[in-house]
């Protein structure tokens, strides 16, 4: 029986395993160094905040794996020998494979800041990171202040976490407005205000110069590049993005760049070796307007769904549909469908319609083609919208007028919520008159 070995028990590794099992009888082994069972990385914050316990973040009961004949092996793969098709583990274990899937995810970026490896300085990615933040910041007596470096999705989650335990947070963001490499101005500005409303000390256009140590090798303070100001703190969260977690592949024959290089079929340069999820990098450029590395939950899952078909003898290309994503900034829910670009990197044909509610917790941005008026995408904050509807409208290539007029159809807010579509439409019509 063919043995499929998957390194990584995250969403991509687990999805490919589940779908291979559905379609075949192959022997499947999932390897991970992190935890015994698959858990949802996206829920790490809720454990620290006390909404859930760790076991609640495990999407499948522990008996699921045995029932589905998916073997789990805990251990860290140090090297891969592709000629003999063997994995070598720390501690000397060896595992042979017929087909190998690399789904090793990401690791937090560290940009060589002085002091970045001190006790108390850490990223937020793994279960181990969660354990260490629990150790270093259990309450606001042990951790009198925390500094977060890097204004992205993980940074804001870390801020929310610390806030839930009343630990004062200083948030250093390199950009002059929060996440404005991805979000248009109006939205980014709304989030700036929302962060400050939560009494988080947001410092825009601010960089970390160094992290200072106390006599025990623990974080004592940080220094800001621009002003030289020193801020005392007990924890430094390093959340300036993530990079593929592939250092252990450097000695193998598998070709890598920033990530493991794969073609559209998710194959590496070595036969029978594939890569999916955060660690995979498309070698022929991003698909459509996508990036070559897509470090999000849904894409990892989709790659897993596709690769399972290939491995089970139905070779398929990874051809994701319309882009979508979602996140939450403290109390602001965010969803996006299609493409809405920030000021930086926006195609010259892309124009925006922006609506913001006076209570400053809801806004939308609709992107459209300035000549054809074709609808390109939407960002929505504080109003839930229906994935299926936008996916259909994008496929049907609707124009922006149609989308704005039919917005009620896409509404996904709970029943009895106030609706804003009329207001949005009025603003939209108004704008066309004044322009």
């Amino acid at each position: 029986m063919e043995h499929v070995v998957i390194i990584g028990n995250g969403i991509s590794g687990v999805t490919v395993a589940r779908h291979i099992r559905k379609n075949s009888d192959k022997k499947i082994t999932i390897v991970s160094a992190e935890t015994d069972y698959f858990f949802s990385r996206t829920a790490l914050m809720y454990i620290y905040m006390g909404h859930m316990k760790f076991e609640h973040t495990q999407p499948y009961e522990n008996s699921f794996w045995k029932k589905n004949r998916i073997e789990l092996k805990k251990g860290f793969v140090e090297t891969i020998e592709t000629t003999s098709k063997t994995l070598h583990f720390t501690g000397g274990d060896i595992l042979e494979y017929d087909k190998l899937v690399i789904a090793t995810g990401s690791k937090p970026n560290k940009f060589g800041w002085p002091g970045q490896d001190l006790e108390g300085a850490q990223g937020l990615y793994s279960k181990q990171d969660l354990d260490s933040i629990e150790r270093n910041a259990p309450d606001n007596k042990t951790c009198k202040r925390a500094v977060i470096v890097g204004g992205g999705l993980i940074g804001i989650e870390l801020a929310e976490m610390l806030n839930s335990r009343s630990i004062p947070v200083t948030f250093l963001v390199r950009e002059d407005s929060f996440w404005n490499g991805v979000l248009p101005k109006g939205e980014s500005a709304m989030i700036n205000r929302h962060i400050k409303n939560h009494h988080i000390d947001l410092r825009l256009s601010t960089n970390l110069q160094e992290i200072k140590s106390d006599e025990n090798g623990r974080v004592k303070s940080i220094v800001i590049t621009e002003t030289g100001e020193e801020i005392e703190c007990n924890v430094v969260g390093l959340t300036a993005g993530v990079a593929p977690n592939i250092d252990f592949l450097k000695t193998s024959n598998i070709e890598t760049n920033r990530g493991v290089l794969v073609n559209r079929q998710l194959e590496t340069n070595i036969p029978d070796v594939y890569a999916i999820g955060d660690c995979a990098e498309q070698r022929d450029g991003g698909i459509g307007q996508r990036r070559t590395i897509e470090a999000v939950w849904y894409t990892g899952r989709m790659m897993g769904e596709v690769l399972a078909q290939t491995i089970c003898g139905n070779p398929l290309e990874y051809k994701p549909g319309h882009w979508f994503n979602s996140a939450k900034f403290l109390d602001l829910e965010y969803q996006t469908y299609g493409w809405v670009f920030a000021d930086r990197g926006r195609p010259e044909y892309e124009e925006h319609f922006h609506w913001i509610h006076e209570d400053d917790t809801k806004c939308i941005t609709v992107a459209y083609h300035k000549d054809t008026k074709a609808f390109l995408g939407i960002n929505t904050f504080g109003i839930r919208m229906r994935h299926e509807t936008f996916d259909r409208w994008l496929t049907e290539k609707r124009d922006v007028d149609y989308v704005i007029k039919n917005l009620p159809e896409a509404n996904f807010d709970p029943e009895f919520y106030k609706h804003f579509e009329k207001d949005i439409l009025a603003t939209y019509n108004n704008r066309l008159q004044t322009v």
Partner: protein, 546 residues
Amino acid sequence: MSNKIDHSMSLASPDALNITTKQKIALAFGLVGLFILVLALFNVDFPNRAVFLTLSLGLVIGGTIVYSREAYLTKLEGIKNDGVWFKSLTSRGVLGWALGIVLTVFYIVLYFFPALLGLGTNGEANTGLVALFDPLSNLLSGNNASQWFVYGTLYTVAILAFGYKFMLKYRHNRYQQLRTGSVMFFQTAFAFVIPELMARLNSDDFSLPYNDLKNMWPLNYYAFDQWRVDQFINAQTVGLFFLILGVVMVFVISPYLTYKYGKRWYCSWVCGCGGLAETAGDSFRQLSNKGVKAWKFERWMINSVLVFSIVTTVAVISTFLGYDSEKYWFTKGVFLISIGVFLTLLLAGILYYKRKELNKSAFRGAIGYYILTIAFLVFYSFFDLSQIKINASYFSFGLNQNTYNFDSALRSFYGFGIGSIFSGVIGTGFYPILGNRAWCRMGCPMATIMGIQQRLFSKFRITTNGGQCISCGNCSNSCEMGIDVRAYAQKGENIVRSSCVGCGVCSAVCPRGVLKLENDSMDGRINPTEVLLGNDVDLMDFVNKN
């Protein structure tokens, strides 16, 4: 395992005490209010009961209001679940167990030893706690209080005070606010004030049974007991109206509303048990067990209770129809046959029209329970139940030495086992251990009936938003009915489950806006998928077809 777990077993957990000074004062006021009740319980005779009762209830309500305002209004609107798994009270820590024990003892005393609460027996005046409530009872119904009046008042106070708290907690969510307003209204008006006022109408030649209009059979298992039916019939037009309304509710109104809106119209908007669970019990919703084993147990348990309640009610009715046949429109035979025919047609219809939606175990279960029920009906038709004597001491550890007729034995056993122990002692007393809807999930026969209908004939479902789920688990964690919502959401599948009471909290707490409670057409309501929206269209077609 979370490293925080041990903290919850410790009373000294810093998280549990992480409340402001204002909250501590509010808590103190509330406790003083409760303390007055405790003093009354121990027979401290208050000089002016009306004043002390008002003071006591006022302090409890006021304390809760101030506490909640401080907890929620000082923060921005949003999900407020910080620390629920750290706090001793809400994570089965010492405080949780302590509260569970206190509540359980209270229920046992209430049901079985009301004299301990000060209920006057044999015409004696009330003393203690019950006496403290006399002034309020006199104000409403003109009679002195009973232990049930005390309980009803405290119950209503709890729903009102904690309902207010819940509304603040979800002040960004109008669905949550409206349905909470609704249960607060139904509890206060229908379960509490109106029946008490109606008692004023009673005189020597006119009397209506205590009637909470919204409390339907089979939740209200004594709805068709002989004394009630007789009282209704004797109360002429008004009584007949209520009796017929009771039947129409069960067979017409409830099925119609459940078809249109799902069982939530009752469980989360009207019901008193649900009302208490959603307000006072809200802090314990995460404690329900989400495991597959619990689900299996639930299905077995809840259907058995339904069968038990049906055979009991039929036994009771057929017996009094049997020996008192001139008094009623039905005879025993007609009654039993019509029940049998009704159940047979119902089952045949379901098996035929819904055969595709029933899996093997559901199919077998339905047949099994049907045969059991019919066997009872046949048995009733051949025997005069009032002639079969049963000595209760065999079934009550000798506590009860009486001998009962078969029908009253069933009826007493149901009242004791299901009505008192299950719905009261376990259902509410165990909130801090089993979660706030253990009764609704495992025991309520009314929920079973509406649940079967919700699963098979209802427009209600929880829609999953395409591929947006990140499997975080907040929804499952918050589901008081123990539904593993995430298991559906992460497959892009709608949630159509008989046990869902439509509380909407899963949708409220989802950080990605994945879930929406909806009433829509029946087609495509159940949509199993393998590959989620967002992937290649061809792949989705290819895999989801198979």
